[in-house]
Each structure stands twice: as C-alpha cells, then as structure tokens.
Subunit: 215 residues, 2 copies
C-alpha cells in the first residue's frame, strides 16, 4: 500500500542507473502484449528485460505495477497514430474513420511487434485476482470509444456527419469492429484481409448528406 519508491528517488549522488529503463519497459510491454498478464511470468519478464529480480523490484515495484506502466507505454505509443488520424483537422469524419481502420489494419499486422492490440483483448476474463487489471483495461477501451464518439460529434458540428447520428452508438460500432480486427489479427489474418474488413465496415457509415450544422 505504501507508494514504493522506485528508480531515481534521490538522484544527483550515488550510482546512476545502468540498464535502459524505457528499453526494458518496452521489452516487458511486448511480452505482456503477446502473452497477456497471467501468461507472462516474473522470470519471463526479467529475462526479456535483462535485469535481475531485485533490480526489477527496485525499478518497477511489482508485476502489476509494471503491467500498468507497460500499458501506459503502449497507449502513449499507439495513441500517437490513433489520435494523429482522429484529430487531423483537414479530414472529414468519414475519411478520418476510414484512415483509422486502415491504419489499424496495418498496425495490427506489423512484423516488428505482436499482432493485434494490447488493449482490445486484455483483461476480458475475470478471475478474482484480476479485477483491478480487468477494470483498468475496460476503462482504456471505454476511453478510446469516447474519443471516437467525440470525433463524430465534431463531424456533426462541422456539418459532414448527419445531424441525427447517434454518435455514441456509431463509436461503439467502430470500437467493436476494431476489437474484432484485433481477434482476426491474433488468428493470423493478413493486413490485406483486415483492410478488406475495414472497407466493409465503412459501408455502415451513416448514409445521406449532412444537414446544415448551423440548424
């Protein structure tokens, strides 16, 4: 319960850090991403991170704390392309979502990291000791969904989305599609397949011309 003091508590004197902390975190992230929280053991982690058990403890506190950090690191990383596309001011809402799904297809199938999404499929099972992590991942999913809803609302304000669109529901739909793409990627689907699915998914975009947003 006491907030564990981690690496860098009294910097300026004494021995500095030897291993690259953010690099170790990145390795841990990839492992969690591929194997999930329960599927990744302490020994797996320190092996991949190249540090000892005590270094691990000193620097990251606990497996659960590391998982939170790794998740944050993933969000910072994936959030870059996600929000860059979502908030690009010069594209209309429909194009933004098409590009978003296209980028999703690409990012979910790159060879330099595990397939799919670290957030979409993690913490979906609920054993007693997993509630914290489950709730955390659930909140992250809700957050990205609400970001999509906000973009759709902006589309209405901009006049490029029909004014009677249910933003929350359309966001929930695209959120669900993205989760589904993650499962497909896990099952070995190619970028091309995900891309085609994305194209089909875009056919569900609200039909009809946008009405005048200025009422």
């Amino acid at each position: 319960m006491t907030p564990k003091i981690i690496q860098g508590s009294k910097r300026g004197r004494g021995r500095p850090a030897v291993f690259d902390r953010s690099k170790a975190l990145f390795e841990a992230m990839k492992l969690f991403w591929e194997r999930g929280y329960e599927g990744t053991s302490f020994d797996d982690l320190i092996g991949a991170m190249g540090i000892s058990a005590s270094s691990f403890y000193n620097s990251f506190g606990s497996k659960e704390a590391l998982y939170c950090e790794a998740t944050r690191a993933y969000l910072d990383w994936a959030g870059q392309w996600f929000f860059a596309i979502l908030n690009e001011p010069s594209t209309d809402a429909r194009t933004a979502f098409a590009l978003l799904l296209e980028a999703t297809a690409e990012e979910f199938t790159r060879g330099d990291h595990p397939p799919g999404c670290m957030i979409s499929l993690a913490g979906t099972h609920c054993s007693p000791g997993m509630r914290n992590i489950r709730d955390m991942m659930s909140e992250h999913r809700a957050f990205s969904e609400s970001a999509m809803a906000a973009r759709i609302r902006k589309g209405i304000a901009d006049g490029d989305v029909p004014a009677d669109t249910d933003c929350g529901m359309l966001a929930a739909y695209y959120s669900a599609v993205a989760r589904g793409l993650a499962v497909q990627a896990r099952d070995g689907a190619s970028r091309e397949k995900l891309s085609e699915i994305a194209k089909v998914a875009m056919r569900a975009w609200p039909p009809g011309k946008a009405r005048d947003a200025r009422r």
Copy 2:
C-alpha cells in the same frame, strides 16, 4: 500421452457414477467461460463441480482435457441457436445475418451465464504452454467464420445476395463484429447497446439488388 480411461470405461458392473457428469461439466464450462483457462484453478473447478480431486482426475483426465470438453459443450449449446438461425431455410441471407446478430446481442447479455462468448475471447494470448489451447480456439473461430461464408454463398445461389459478393470477406467482417460484440458485452454493454451496434453493422450488407443467380 496414453489416452486416459475416463468415467464409464467398463459399465454394467460395479458402482455407477454418483455425481451428474454433464452437470459438473456445465459448471466447469461456466467457470472457464468467465475466467478463462489460466484464470481458473484446479481447486476452483473441483469446488464448482462439487467433486474431489481424484474424482476429477478419474472422470476428466486433466485440466486441459476438461477445457476441451467444456469447449465442446459450449459449442453444442451455442451452436444450437447459431446454426438454427443460420440455416433456417425460409429466411434470406440478409435476414439470417440480422437475426444472427440480434440473437448474439441477446445471448451475450443473458443473466444466467457469463457475458460474451466463450470462443471469441479465449486463447488470444500466446504463452508457450498455451499454444494447444490457442490453436484450438483459433480453429473454432475459423469454423464459425466459414459457416457464415457458406451461408452467404448459399445466398448467392438463392439469388438474394449480389453475385459479385466476396463471401469470405463478408463473413470475416461479421465474424469480427461478433468478436467485438463479445468484448463490449464483457465490458458491461447492455443488450440494447449490442442490438444497436448490430443494426449499424447490418448497414454494411452488400448494396444493390441481387443479380440473377442462374447466370
């Protein structure tokens, strides 16, 4: 490796089974469904099944073997409504898929069993010891997707689906949507929300009148 002989090997003489095997299996299924394979412990299982460790071993062989059986039981159970709707001869393909998603929304949110789908979200993480289970679940997902593709092909043959439809891709899309609905259900989405998402998803159905199937 030796195929373990389980309950009922030499029936007709001796003591008969005391506990209800299929009921115990059903309890195990619900536990696996909710908590996943790794999240469910041996003790959790025998507790929920109401049997001793040795009975467990005698009757089901191992945790992994039980998981396979529980998965089969789930497929038999969920396959009932799934295939009943998919193969109903009097509905056209589009209606079949609309009803399928509608049923999915309902089944994924019933109070009498865990939310979502036991197949959609299981075995998506790949630690070394989970490869068998991962592959098994992946195959089950591929199977349901191919069943959907077959139904769409039948729709083309019946003339109620445009002949130039890419059946495999459309099936992959609806498969992905179903997986996404499972995640949404896990995150606590209501039947109504899933139902609305399903309606949005149906807007992606191939547009245009069906061409004459008889070429």
